[in-house]
Structure formats: C-alpha cells, structure tokens
Amino acid sequence: MKNFTPISKVKNIATEGSVLLSERTIARAEDAKTFFTRAGNMTLFILQTLRQFFSFPFEFKEFLKQCYEIGNRSLPLVAITGAIMGLVLTIQSRPILNDFGAESMLPQMVAVSLIREIGPVITALICAGKIGSGIGAELGSMKVTEQIEAMEVSAVNPMKYLVVTRVLAATLMIPVLVLFADALGMVGSWIGVNIKTELNIALFFSRAFSSVDFIDFIPAFIKSFFFGLVIGLVGCYKGYNAGKGTESVGIAANSAVVLSSLLIIIVDLIVVQITDLMI
C-alpha cells in the first residue's frame, strides 16, 4: 500500500488533525493486512503439513532420528526441571498446609498440581525453549544457506522430509517427556517431604495417588500432545519461512520460542475450560 501523501489542494483545506487521523488509519490498515497475511500463511502451512502427512511415502528413518533428537536429547533437561519442580512445590506448599493442619495432604496436593497443570505446562515451556528454538534455527539456517531449495530442485519434498517428521516427532515425544517430568517431580517431592519429616517412599506414593483419578491424568496427557504439536508447527513454520541473511536465523529461533510459549498458555487455558465444563 502506498503511503498517504495528501495532495496540495486537500492539504490546504484539511486540518492537521484530519491528515494525522488519515495517516494513522492507513497505518492501522497496513498492520491489519500484515496480521491477516501471516495468519493466512500459517494456516496454509498447517494445511500443507497435513496434506503431506497423509501422502505416501512417509520418511520413517528421519522421523525416528527426530524422535531421538527431540525425545532422548531433552531427557536430562526435563529430568532436572521435573525434579526441581516437585522439590520446590513441596518446600513452598508445606508452610501453608501446616497452617491449616493439613501437612499430611502434601503428597496428594503435589501429585494433583504436578499431573494436572505444572508438569505439562512447565515441561512444554522448557521444550518450547529447547526444541522450538532448535527446529527454528535448524530450518532457518537451511533456508538461508539454500539447503531447502536444494532439496526442492532435487525433487525431494522438503515439507514431507523436514516438516512432517519434526512436527510428528514433537507431538509424540512431548507427552512422553511430560510423563517423565511428572515422575521425577514426584521423586523430587518425596525428597522435599523428607527434608523435615520422615516418610517412606511407598507410603508417599500411596498417599499421593490416592487422590489422583483418570480425570486428572487424561486431559493433562491429551493437552501435552497439543503442546507438542504447537512446538513442532511453530518451530517449523518460523524456520521454513525465515528471511535472508544470518540475522534471520536468530529471529526465526527467537520468534519460535515466543510464539510457541504464548500458544502453549492459550491452549492450556482452552483445555482447562473444556475440562471444567465436562467434569
């Protein structure tokens, strides 16, 4: 859209305020156009990914490699985060529960908090930082160095080889990492409980899971698939559509983390609302 430049006749009769208003309106229209263009591009990208997912042949070897990269390589980070999450939650909650004379409820409270909310969300946010930025930077640098175009001209479909495999691997591996983080969070919590009191591990887990039902576990598990989908899709979209120059690689990685983190919170809100309506 061309910049608004009032012609001399109009400029003479228009007030300064009205010219300013016109220019602002045009600027807003430009912003709206950019927003809708990006939303449209993202939608097309998702549709293309879906179409390639259902078309033969599937790049199974690359998919397994990505599962290893995303799942196995994230284990140490997720393990440390999970254990610390459980430990901190226990240490922070103990004084409050103590005030209400409910310190014995500590394992149950931590279990419900971890499984329902903290485990999936914190793990997804950590993975958005590690996996989302990794995918964004990798595909971004492939784009900048023309490797994606090289794939295209050698008649290899880069959407199928690069995008579908990464999105699917992220979608399937994040739930596994969430389960792992939950388990280690519970171990961390048991350690936290034992800092001030002595509680047998079997008794701790027996108490913890006494108040956890499938209704706590299933929605949390399902939403972690969506978190994985968001991380994979956003990372691939940002990397695949990176601009030119090395600066674009950093921008792609950074915006992949920011957008996927935001979307994780939004998806979480939607799932919590739906779950709340269903229970």
Partner: protein
C-alpha cells in the same frame, strides 16, 4: 576453426532444451526481469553475464520454479513449467541439476550421505551396490573420492563446490543450471571448476546455463553468452563477438 569452435557452431543451430519467452518478474515496484527471450540449445554452455542485481539468479530460479514468473513462458524439455502440477514438476526437476552459489550441501550429513540423499529418494528400487558405485563415480568425476566420509564443515569452499557439483550430476541430468559457480573462490580453484564444467558437459552431454560475472570462467566455458542490463538482454552472441561491441558499458564490463 578449432574442434571446440566447430562444436559451438553446431550447438547454436541445434534443438532448444530451454525456451524462455518474454519473461517478466517484479518484486513490488522493482522490475527485475523485463521480458527476456532466449533459447538454451542442446549440448551448449550458455553464459548469463550481468551486474549484481540484474536478475540473473531470479532467471534460473524461475526456470526450476523456485520462483514463479509474473508473465511470459518457460519451456523446459517440452514442458511449460508454469502449467505443471506438483508431480509433473518433480519429474521434470529430476532431469535438471542445479548448482547453488553456496553449494547448499546438507550440513547435518556427510559427503556420502549428501550424494546418496537424492539417489535414494528418486531412483526407487536402486540397489546398495549401484548407490555405492554411482556415489564413487560422481566423486571421482570431481576429483574428490577421498572426501567420502567428511562433513561439509570440514571442506574448503572449492571442495564444497565440487561436492555440490558431484551431487548435481549424480542423477544424470540433461540440463545443469549453475548459479555463480566460481564466486568466492581463488583464481586457481576457479580455473579448476571451469575446467570441470567443460569436462562434465563433454562426459555427460549436458546443456548448461551458467550465471556468472567471473570473466575468466565465462571465457573458459562459454559457447554463447547473454549480457543482461537492468533486466533486459543487452547483448548476445559468442564471448568474442560481445567483447568486440563498441559500447562503453559493454567495454567496461569486459575490462580486466
């Protein structure tokens, strides 16, 4: 006339493998290509010369549909590339090799994997022995059989270009598009790459469209040349005939 000269004469008269007609491409207000019309004849090396930003790379990206032209037609091996469906375009791309300016080797793969990658995906049912043989043949053609298990990061600029060239020829393309094959290389390596371009043409009987502004390379490989200026063909003919044009801009371009 030398054998090479006689070959040139035959090549110009031959059957076109790429026919570009009235090709136009703009980016917003910037008109990069303003109606290019030319043919690439079977078996010839056609050089496209021009200043940076004159639309040379855009031209070859339009030929393989990495970019779509705004107007005009491109016919490659009898196919109008603008009208092809995705599958048909993929089939056509198997017959076209593309050497990128940067080489565009896959960083996460070894040289061997880089070469095997298009083979495994395109030549379905090919045996492991054939893959190994073709990989070694391509590497030997570029004189780098010893680099088989190296990562791209362990290679020099010239070696990367050679490996990229090996990856380009591994699928036996009938047309090769070179995007500035000698840019960023020292004069000796540039000479080696130029010699390699001629060798590949002679050995695999390919037709080549070579984008460059490296004059020694252009002189070494050109059968014919197009000189682009501001998105239009300013001059065309053999390198010798273009160099003799008494035009200040052309003379400035060929000044060593």
């Amino acid at each position: 006339m030398s054998t090479e000269g006689q070959y040139r004469e035959e090549a110009v008269k031959g059957e076109p493998v790429i026919k570009v007609k009235d090709l136009k491409k703009s980016f917003g207000e910037q008109h990069v290509l303003k109606g290019l019309t030319f043919d690439l004849i079977k078996g010839e090396n056609l050089i496209v010369l021009g200043k940076s930003g004159s639309g040379k790379s855009v031209l070859i990206k339009c030929i393989v549909q990495l970019m779509t032209a705004d107007e005009g037609t491109i016919n490659v091996l009898g196919n109008e590339v603008g009208n092809l469906r995705a599958k048909e375009l993929a089939e056509l791309r198997k017959k076209i090799g593309f050497l990128f300016q940067s080489g565009a080797l896959y960083d996460s793969m070894t040289v061997k994997e880089n070469l095997e990658f298009p083979l495994r995906r395109i030549k379905k049912g090919i045996s492991e022995k054939d893959i190994k043989d073709k990989t070694m043949e391509a590497l030997e053609a570029v004189g780098l059989a010893s680099a088989l298990n190296k990562m791209p990061s362990q290679l020099s600029g010239g070696m990367r270009k050679r490996i990229a060239l090996a990856r380009t020829i591994i699928l036996d393309p009938s047309i090769i598009l070179y995007d500035e094959p000698t840019t960023g290389l020292d004069p000796i390596t540039s000479q080696e790459i130029s010699a390699l371009i001629n060798e590949i043409r002679n050995k695999y009987h390919t037709s080549s469209l070579i984008i460059t502004h490296d004059m020694p390379c252009a002189r070494a490989v050109a059968d014919r040349a197009l000189l682009l200026k501001e998105g239009e063909i300013y001059a065309q003919g053999t390198m010798q005939s273009i160099q003799q044009i008494e035009d200040p801009w052309v003379q400035l371009f060929f000044k060593d």
